[in-house]
């Protein structure tokens, strides 16, 4: 067992526990985006930052990937954490304002503006789909390629992958397209959003014969007309 202090509260966790898990077990909320139970931690969105250490050695780390260590002092809501978190949300809004998930996070943290050039991207490269495909669907049909600005998610050579079973798991976990067309939970859907924003499933031909369990999804209905 490892003993550490989170926001002044001492707790003991098993070796291998992440700071996020440790904090959650004490009930401290930490926003996350690229983290999902059942998928391995990745640390891409940088939303879950917490502060560790003291004095000049204090630093921020992503709680979803950082392992609990003996004697560690963790702060989940220090002013430094909040400043970073707010900026990450602002950056997310600047790149992907149409995502319901991101809108919800912004609303929950009272972020109501962003000061950068507005973009409308349909992927924030959180890697959930890649991990879903590899770790839960055992397919490894999609992956990352390129770096920096050129990094994208896709299949090898951009052709339909032989190992892809069209399960749709990737779309299901995606924070930038999933919720805006999930009509099954109406209170979460920004209604009509999908109709205005052309969800990727309709736009991209390769999803033609995909098995879709997000019914009824307005998008396909519109497409039929």
């Amino acid at each position: 067992m490892i003993t550490l202090t989170i926001n002044g509260l001492q707790t003991s966790v098993e070796k291998g526990t992440t700071l996020l898990e440790a904090a959650s077990s004490l009930g401290f909320p930490i926003p996350t985006l690229c983290h999902m139970e059942g998928l391995s931690p990745y640390g891409a969105c940088r939303l879950c930052m917490v502060e560790i250490g003291e004095g000049p050695r204090a630093k921020l780390v992503s709680s979803c990937t950082y392992p609990a260590q003996e004697g560690l002092k963790v702060r989940t809501a220090s002013s430094r954490v909040l400043r970073a978190r707010n900026m990450v949300i602002e950056l997310l809004l600047a790149s992907c304002p149409q995502s319901k998930t991101i809108q919800d996070i912004a609303a929950a943290h009272n972020i109501r503006r962003q000061r950068f050039r507005q973009e409308y991207e349909d992927c924030i490269l959180c890697g959930l789909c890649v991990r879903m495909c590899e770790e839960q669907m055992m397919a490894k049909a999609i992956g990352f390629r390129g770096r920096g600005q050129n990094r994208t998610v896709g299949t090898p050579f951009d052709i339909k992958s032989d190992v892809c079973r069209l399960c749709g798991g990737c779309i299901y976990v995606c924070p930038t397209c999933q919720l805006r067309c999930t009509y099954t939970e109406p209170e979460k859907a920004i209604c009509g959003g999908c109709a205005n924003l052309a969800p990727p499933c309709v736009e991209k031909d390769q999803f033609d014969d995909m098995m879709c369990y997000m019914t009824p999804c307005v998008a396909c209905e519109i497409e039929k007309d």
């Binding site: 400043r83 990450v88 490269l125």
Partner: protein, 616 residues
Amino acid sequence: MERLQVIEDFSSLQARLTADREPNIPVIVIPAGTCGQASGANDLIRVTKRELLDKGLTDKIHLRVTGCHGFCEAEPSVLIEPQGTFYPKVDAKQMVRIVQAVAADEVLEDLLFADPETGRGFYRYDKIPFFRNQQRSIMRMNQALDPIRIYTCIVSGGYGALQDVLANRSPYQALQEVKDSGLRGRGGAGFPTGLKWDLLAALPDEPAKILVCNADEGDPGAYMDRSILEGNPHSIIEGMLIAAYATGATEGVLYVRNEYPLAIKHLMIALRQCRELGLLGDDILGTGLRFDIELVRGAGAFVCGEETALIRSIEGKMGEPVQRPPFPVEKGINGRPTAINNVETWANIPLIFKLGAEEYAKVGTNGNTGTKIFSLVGKIKNTGLVEVPMGITIEKIVHDIGGGARGNGKIKAVQTGGPSGGCIPADRFDLPVDYDSLAKAGSIMGSGGMIVMDDNTCMVDVAKYFMNFLMDESCGKCFTCRKGTQRMYEILEDISNGKATLQDLDLLEELAHVVKDTTMCGLGQTASNPVLSTLRYFRDEYIEHIENQRCPAGVCKELVTYSINENCTGCGLCVTVCSEGAISGEKKGRHVIDVDKCIKCGSCRTVCNFDAIDVR
């Protein structure tokens, strides 16, 4: 090559080679690293060989082709030993004369390196200020040996430290020696090397431990690692062998970027020769030591120099950093304990044992021992690789060794630490160059790049340039690194186009701090340095761009205007080069530029002989 069975075999080989030496025969030394070859060293080698053969001088004069000596400004250069005569910028015709002069034991005064102040030639290379003010303990070896001939290496002391360690010390003592030397990693972070080895040595022998030489060197304008790899690959192998003995590691990996073909060639040759001699493999020199080294080529991403990305790259995965802890020493390549050190760190190891830890630690300052090689480039007279004791001031490097500003510019700052380093302004040149002082001044030591800037350099433009590099080279995993660098670049672009407001500047600064805080690896954590350090020391330049729409250095195109001043003689030369027909004027009268037509290409300024074109 005969395999050396026991330690005594090595000693007798060394003794035999030393006895065979002919110290009185003059040697023509031609540095032919990548830099030397690019500036024409291969021609010199060819001419020299032909000349020696034609004149039947092969017994009287020897030729040694070596790696880079560091004085890039003077390349292709020739050094005559044992006299130490140095000829800079030699061409093929001059080379013929040099060979004849060596044969006649003469010195060609007209070809010597001339003192820029007195105009007199220097008779010995080590009297030239560029060399005289350095302390070349590592670079000097490049001069002494032919990297593709292991015997020239052994005769100049190569593998002597290994022999000494194997014969006279226990692994524990060897480790202690490295700890006592105070050596800190030269790859950038300055982690104590002895401590890293200690952590590795403390682990059990199973699973097998791995040592890695990080030769990814991706910083633009830095090439000190390349010069060691090309010029003295054996120093790295020897360092790794000593570490293998001290820590119990059995496998080594040399991770070299594929853009260094000559280094790869020299390393392959060195590895082969070591295996033939029995310096690598099973039961090395009969001591039971087992160690071999594999060479892995990197595909050229800057981020693959970061140790966790490097490990993934070696494993054949995408070069993408992962969370530390666990550190590579606990969980490295394929989950096995791995100690990664930089090229220059490895090259320092034999030196520690040659001098003894105590003597080694006398160089430099407390906590920053030994020498460091910097690549000195930019608006400076003597560009090249300079090796100096740690803790020397920037002033000494820039003025005493670098020879001060090039042309009539005035030096305004140096940028240290590569793309994610920072700028140090001229009024802080009394700063000692060591890990801690540089970090305090808002920069980093990095791998040792040093770019000198003068008053024709715009600091906003500098920050923009490096941000562009980092934006491309970020692996893209962390949202705040990928988007943060892009957003910082956008704001910098707006500033240099005169489209930004003071609020944008605040946003830039705010974002810079957050990017530093919220990224996973060293690339993102230092990506803000170019912005933060220029803002810290040159904020007025930023303000000038924003409030007055003016670029003081005349670099940011959108903000400058070209005009003709009273120096104009009306020669009309500029009229002929202006593609837009923007210049007009009476013959022999002062000309004018039509700002509406001018596209700010700068052609007129380059041709004007009278300094009559102003850029403001």
